[in-house]
């Protein structure tokens, strides 16, 4: 893993950003740094403000307060220059379904102003990234869900962007296809593409992100490398206790009294940070703590 402190140049910099829709505050004083060459995961439950944050970065939403800089350009005034060097893969598939794979890429090579001389190579390269070279003449509505998502990501890379924005890149895909996309994103990361990725899949953030920013109710509640976040908020080991609701309530109260943090896991309770505390910790299944513990602890949200 790269040192997340090392990057001094920020591809994205947000300070005190507020976005309201009527009486609803979707983003509430958000600070966010995405150092160049890193992959930052925006992790949060549905409605935490992740998608609004993504829209703010392309000036499709205009912030009510705060400062936004993308690739050194101030938004919203200089957003067009920033967008020229960004790639965006949206959560909702908006490919042209009656066009072929290659036609979709060609159209975007124009929209992103790829020069005539480079166009052919750019399209071939994107076909390679999507692993769809042998499907170039297939209409998009004949592709599988996973292929469409790969094409969506490849389409956002046709102009070799410095920054890639991925909004829930694997939502709604089956586990095998998800693994495949993770490999694709990991490869981009290894090449040094700066990535901001929103997700509500813990495993996705843990696997791909150098830094995770946990969002709840429109603001950041914690930020750091996944392992550091886990160590800081949940310790190294957890004890998981199963039982009746009464028993779980008892364990929860006892853990709080003993100074432990705990979180509910549906049918069980996890008492966190129990390493080296054998006497005071309740009896139960020991397991290593994980990012999910931190997420639930900080957002108060269950994982679906």
């Amino acid at each position: 893993m790269r040192d997340w402190h090392a990057g001094t140049v920020n591809a994205i910099r947000l300070r005190g950003v507020v976005k309201r829709y009527g009486s609803i505050t979707a983003v509430n004083g958000l600070d966010l740094d995405v150092p160049e060459g890193t992959c930052v995961g925006l992790l949060g439950p549905n409605g935490a403000g992740k998608s609004t944050t993504m829209r703010l970065l392309t000036a499709q939403s205009i912030a009510d307060e705060g400062e936004i800089e993308v690739l050194g350009f101030r938004l919203p005034e200089e957003s067009k220059q920033a967008r020229a060097q960004c790639g965006v893969a949206p959560q909702l598939d908006n490919l042209d379904v009656t066009l072929t794979v290659e036609q979709n890429l060609r159209v975007f090579s124009y929209l992103y102003r790829v020069g005539r001389a480079e166009r052919r190579d750019a399209i071939e390269r994107a076909l390679g990234i999507a692993n769809l070279a042998d499907r170039r003449d297939t209409r998009v509505d004949k592709l599988s869900g996973g292929m469409r998502r790969r094409l969506l990501i490849a389409r956002s890379l046709v102009h070799r962007p410095r920054l890639l924005l991925l909004d829930e890149p694997t939502v709604g895909l089956d586990p095998q296809v998800r693994q495949e996309l993770w490999a694709l994103i990991d490869a981009l990361r290894a090449e040094g593409t700066t990535i901001l990725m929103s997700t509500h899949y813990i495993e996705e953030a843990q696997r791909l992100a150098d830094t995770v920013l946990i969002m709840a109710h429109g603001s950041a509640v914690a930020a750091g490398p996944p392992a550091a976040l886990v160590a800081e908020h949940a310790g190294l080991e957890a004890v998981e206790v199963y039982g009746s609701p009464e028993k779980l309530a008892e364990v929860e109260a006892a853990a709080a009294a003993a100074g432990f943090r705990a979180r509910r896991t549906g049918t069980s309770i996890s008492v966190l940070g129990v390493e080296g505390a054998d006497g005071r910790a309740p009896a139960g299944e020991r397991r290593p703590t994980n990012l999910e513990d931190v997420f639930v602890l900080l957002t108060g949200e269950e994982i679906a």
Partner: protein
């Protein structure tokens, strides 16, 4: 905390050609997958109009406003073809592209602003109207209309009128909260404008107030311009009519940009 949001609408590099080229390339590429059906309907429809009105009605009235009725309708339905190939595709196409296909989300994430998007889309629809608007005239030529040099101006007239109607359709789509709202516009605005444009009967037979109101109907100016292109120009009056169509286009263009900016950027 200081509010640092600058005024909206101030952008660097407005109406850039590469941006509009990108939007046009997308439309042209898509057109390659559905041009057959569009060409079919825009050819068959005016033929039916000519057959039904020209021969059905023409059997009752042989001459209208000094012209053979078939020639009168043949030139008049150019405006109908322009309306049908601009306002309607613009309304439905725009709504589908932002609401259902989310195409505009993808385009606005690229270095394209709403102003460029709307302008390029309207130009594309206008270009189609400039081509398909000629079909009724070609059909009328087959049915015996005499060719005239002035007819070469018809694609330009159809393009200018088509641009205005395209922007009108985009604006309606921008203001509409659901696709059902289009019924109000089609019934209350487009149908009356279509009927009192002088396509099937001359406005001179209508009461005086309706004749005056007709001057505010862009479709009427389109009808008259096409007729005069085929049968002889009206001089300055035709120039004023063309000016009215240009003005209609410019006003609708700004309204369409305003409506779509409200819709697409929040």
């Amino acid at each position: 905390m200081a509010v640092t949001t600058p005024p909206r609408g101030r952008r660097l590099g407005r109406l850039e050609r590469p941006a509009m080229t990108g939007v046009l390339v997308r439309e042209i590429t898509n057109f390659s997958s559905y041009w057959r059906s569009v060409t079919f309907s825009s050819t068959v429809e005016p033929t039916f109009y000519l057959l039904a009105f020209g021969f059905g009605f023409g059997a009752l009235v042989s001459r209208v406003g000094g012209y053979d009725y078939v020639e009168f309708v043949g030139t008049g339905t150019v405006a109908t073809a322009v309306l049908f190939s601009s306002a309607f595709p613009a309304m439905f196409g725009t709504f589908i592209k932002y609401q259902f296909q989310r195409t505009y989300d993808a385009i606005l994430a690229a270095p394209v602003d709403t102003e460029e998007l709307v302008t390029a889309e309207a130009l594309w629809v206008a270009a189609r109207a400039g081509v398909y608007g000629n079909v009724p005239l070609l059909v009328a030529l087959v049915f015996g209309l005499d060719p005239a040099w002035g007819m070469l101006a018809v694609p330009l007239i159809a393009f200018v009128a088509g641009f205005g109607w395209a922007c009108f359709g985009i604006a309606i789509a921008g203001f509409a909260s659901s696709i059902e709202n289009f019924s109000y516009v089609i019934s209350a605005v487009l149908t009356p404008l279509f009927l009192v444009a002088g396509t099937f009967f001359p406005l001179s037979e209508l009461p005086r107030w309706a004749q005056i109101a007709g001057n505010f109907n862009p479709l009427h100016h389109c009808v008259e311009l096409v007729r005069h292109a085929a049968f002889g120009s009206d001089g300055w009056i035709d120039l004023a009519r063309l000016g009215a169509l240009v003005l209609f286009g410019l006003v609708m263009w700004r309204i369409a940009i305003h409506a779509m900016t409200r819709k697409l950027v929040d």
